[in-house]
């Protein structure tokens, strides 16, 4: 059992939780994730590690409520327990000092990009961060990212903060103006990672994306998370989740992410009929 020591609402439907998980924190590296299961009947949900502290043993997770399980997770409160957490899973990112990296984050993807930006920053790499969200309200991790970045650019779909439009447009502008980072890291929705990779491809800039494929065990046993990279089938849970952005078959993965849409809808209806919801203020 893992106790929730802190819960924070970062934006509408985006929540942060800190849990007591010293063993996982001791080995967690940027780019890795955990799989959690809330209770006996719960599904196994992969969540990228947003931060981990070896000294306190606190593991930070950030998630957006998109389906039944994340909504139910969001309804847990400080002091509640999560039954199972296993990790750290996935191949750690190989991070070494470079001259310059660009971190491109879309939506809730800014949380998993933070540990990578932080690690590069600590090594003395120049970090330029490009953060996109639908609206100003949905921008999260602003302070954290500013602390570990040399420059930060923002964009919102509605123009309520920063550039009006997509974050990939900001990326395109910077590259057109002559910026040539050693590496571009992109984490966000699949269409955004596909577009960012298309943009960097034009300029021949190395690009790493982090994939959020559907998983069950998260340890390479089931193959649910398979994705085609450079014409070969890879398991994103063990061989990823980070891959060369120019070689991922995004269209296939976008289709695979829709495998359980009908069931997800049914699960949500079933949950709402059972009066689910946050009980933090009823205690």
């Amino acid at each position: 059992m893992y106790k929730i020591l802190k819960k924070e609402i970062l934006a509408p439907k985006i929540k942060l939780m800190e849990v007591d998980a010293p063993e996982i924190c001791r080995h967690a590296c940027p780019g890795q994730f955990i799989v959690l299961r809330m209770h006996e009947k719960g599904e196994r949900i992969p969540l990228t590690i947003a931060d981990s502290d070896r000294k306190t043993g606190l593991l930070t997770m950030v998630f957006q409520e998109v389906g039944k399980s994340t909504k139910e997770l969001g309804a847990l409160c400080e002091g509640d327990f999560i039954q199972d957490i296993v990790g750290p899973l996935g191949t750690p990112r190989d991070i070494e000092k470079l001259d310059c990296v660009v971190c491109v984050a879309g939506g809730v993807g800014v949380a998993p990009i933070y540990p990578e930006a932080k690690a590069y920053h600590q090594l003395g790499t120049r970090v330029i961060s490009l953060i996109g969200a639908q609206t100003k309200d949905m921008l999260i991790f602003k302070d954290r990212m500013e602390k570990v970045s040399d420059e930060v650019y923002y964009s919102t779909d509605d123009g309520s903060f920063g550039h009006k439009g997509f974050v990939t447009e900001v990326l395109n502008d910077l590259l057109e103006k002559g910026l040539r980072p050693d590496e571009v890291i992109v984490i966000g929705p699949l269409p955004m990672m596909r577009e960012a990779s298309r943009v960097t491809g034009k300029f021949g800039v190395k690009t790493v994306v982090s994939l959020n494929a559907i998983m069950v065990d998260g340890t390479g046993m089931c193959g649910s998370c398979r994705v085609t990279v450079d014409g070969e089938t890879k398991f994103s849970c063990v061989e990823g989740p980070a891959f060369d952005g120019h070689k991922v078959d995004y269209d296939e993965l976008i289709a695979r992410q829709k495998r359980f849409l009908a069931e997800e809808k049914l699960a949500m209806e079933h949950y709402l009929a059972g009066a689910g919801g946050c009980k933090c203020h009823q205690k």
Binding site: I24, D84, L89, T219, V238, A255, R256
Partner: protein, 471 residues
């Protein structure tokens, strides 16, 4: 006396096929005490006891059968447990027909004694009568401390045996539940999970500490475990990454590995969705590729999840099928169709990324290959299209690479399996032992149990020698 022995064995009652295809309850119902006694009295108690040498863990088969014949069912259960810590599971999933029963003297002139069914009966009787946990746990576990990695059949057996020998065992499991393939692979209707729970509970009651959600090599490293004071380690991490078909279209929606399909259904209980959160999708027309027990389990699970028609496509003939005969018969009774000497060529896609068919080719058998089985050869021009919307690939798995790739210097075989001594489980690294599918590649539950048991004795000898106590 032997002339009076009934030639036919007493068959175990089963759920009727038309009933069982709509539920996940156990198919075989087990003997009644009367049937068990009747079957047990068929054993002639021959002096050579070929059955015992046919058993990978050396259960005293004639002795426990005699106890059943005398009506001492609890005594029989106790007798089995002297050698086998997981009898209710073995009674269900062991391939007795190719082990103990294959060499039974009665088998020469009629049916062999139904050893598996009797083993199952006595352990079920013990469980039903609440006696299984009464056995006193060994009080002294001070000989040393051993880490057992993986709680599948190899790890559970190794842990139980080491406890009997006087060692403190910590059993590590990366999933949220124990049992390995017994939990995620074998369906409820063949091995009820309540039985896995009970047998694991028995092992825990004997003093084994179980730690779930720990992926050794990642959550805690092998070196850290040795630093924490473990004297030795057993790697029983089993099979891992599933093989796919290697044909175009294998990543389409509607294509599962058997591991994914069965893990969703068994470990995650997706057959009870939405009461349980994990979804599973089964179409109208399912095809399972492969000829082993996992293929049978997948096909029968798909049927129970509501598929209208389920076929098994296998590239060789019936004779070469590695599945247990009993499982093939069960599948046939339930209406699973077998398309033998058939191999997939490609999976066809509809306009939304889902499966809409599978192109297959007919095969014929040529000369025997490395496995000793006749090699299947495609018959050119025999391609045809199967109208299917779900494909389950049950063509085997790799040894699980996750832990072993973190152990530097560990000797591995060509297929990524750990190289370990067959008798002692020793690897090339002192203190690290291994057994089960991680060593042999996909094999049986009882073979893994046998390896776990032998490794426990190998570990015992290693620790005694290391501590200068001798045997």
């Amino acid at each position: 006396m032997s002339s009076k022995v009934r030639k036919q064995r007493h068959e175990m009652p089963k759920q009727a096929p038309d009933m069982r295809i709509s539920n996940f309850e156990e198919v075989a119902l087990g003997y009644t005490p009367e049937l068990a006694v009747a079957e047990a009295t068929r054993c002639i108690g021959c002096p050579k006891k070929p059955c015992v040498s046919g058993c990978p863990v050396g259960v005293d088969i004639p002795e426990f059968i005699e106890l059943i014949a005398e009506g001492d069912f609890l005594g029989a259960a106790k007798k089995i447990k002297e050698k086998n810590s997981l009898p209710a599971m073995c009674g269900r999933v062991c391939p007795q027909e190719s082990q103990c029963e294959a060499v039974c003297t009665l088998g020469k002139k009629g049916d062999p004694v139904a050893i598996g069914a009797l083993e199952r009966f006595s352990s079920d009787y013990e469980r039903a009568h609440g006696e299984s946990l009464t056995e006193a746990a060994p009080s002294d576990l001070s000989l040393g401390k051993v880490a057992v990695i993986g709680s599948g059949p190899a790890g559970l057996t190794c842990a139980a045996e080491l406890t009997k020998l006087g060692y403190k065992v910590v059993l590590f499991e990366s999933l949220h539940a124990t049992g390995g393939v017994l939990r995620y692979g074998i369906p409820e209707f063949r091995l009820p999970k309540a039985i896995v729970d009970e047998e694991v509970e028995y092992i825990r009651s004997q003093g084994v500490e179980i730690r779930l959600n720990v992926l050794v090599g990642t959550t805690v490293t092998v070196d850290e475990l040795f630093e924490q004071g473990f004297d030795a380690m057993f790697l029983g991490t089993g099979a891992g990454l599933p093989y796919f078909l290697g044909v175009p279209g294998e990543n389409l929606n509607g294509v599962y590995s058997a591991n994914e399909f069965l893990t969703r259904a068994n470990l995650m209980k997706a057959y009870r969705f939405p009461e349980y959160d994990t979804p599973i999708w089964v179409g109208r027309r399912v095809v399972v590729v492969g000829g082993g027990n996992v293929a049978m389990d997948s096909a029968r699970t798909a049927l129970r999840l509501g598929a209208e028609r389920v076929s098994v496509v296998y590239r060789r003939s019936r004779t070469e099928m590695p599945a247990r005969l009993e499982e093939v018969e069960n599948a046939e009774e339930e209406g699973i169709e077998f398309m033998l000497l058939t191999n997939p060529v490609r999976i066809l896609e509809d306009d939304k990324g889902w499966v809409k068919g599978m192109e297959c080719i007919r095969m014929e058998l040529g000369e025997p290959d490395d496995s000793g089985r006749r090699r299947p050869i495609p018959v050119s021009g025999s391609e045809f299209i199967l109208d299917v919307d779900t494909v389950i690939s049950a063509v085997g798995t790799n040894p699980n690479p996750l832990l072993i790739r973190t152990v530097s210097g560990l000797a591995l075989g060509r297929r990524g399996n750990v190289i370990a001594d067959e008798e002692t489980g020793e690897t090339n690294i002192p203190g690290i032992f291994a057994g089960g599918d991680i060593v042999t590649g996909s094999a049986t539950v009882i073979a893994a149990m046998g390896a776990g048991k032998r490794a426990a004795h190998g570990i015992d000898e290693y620790i005694r020698t290391k501590n200068g106590r001798g045997m």
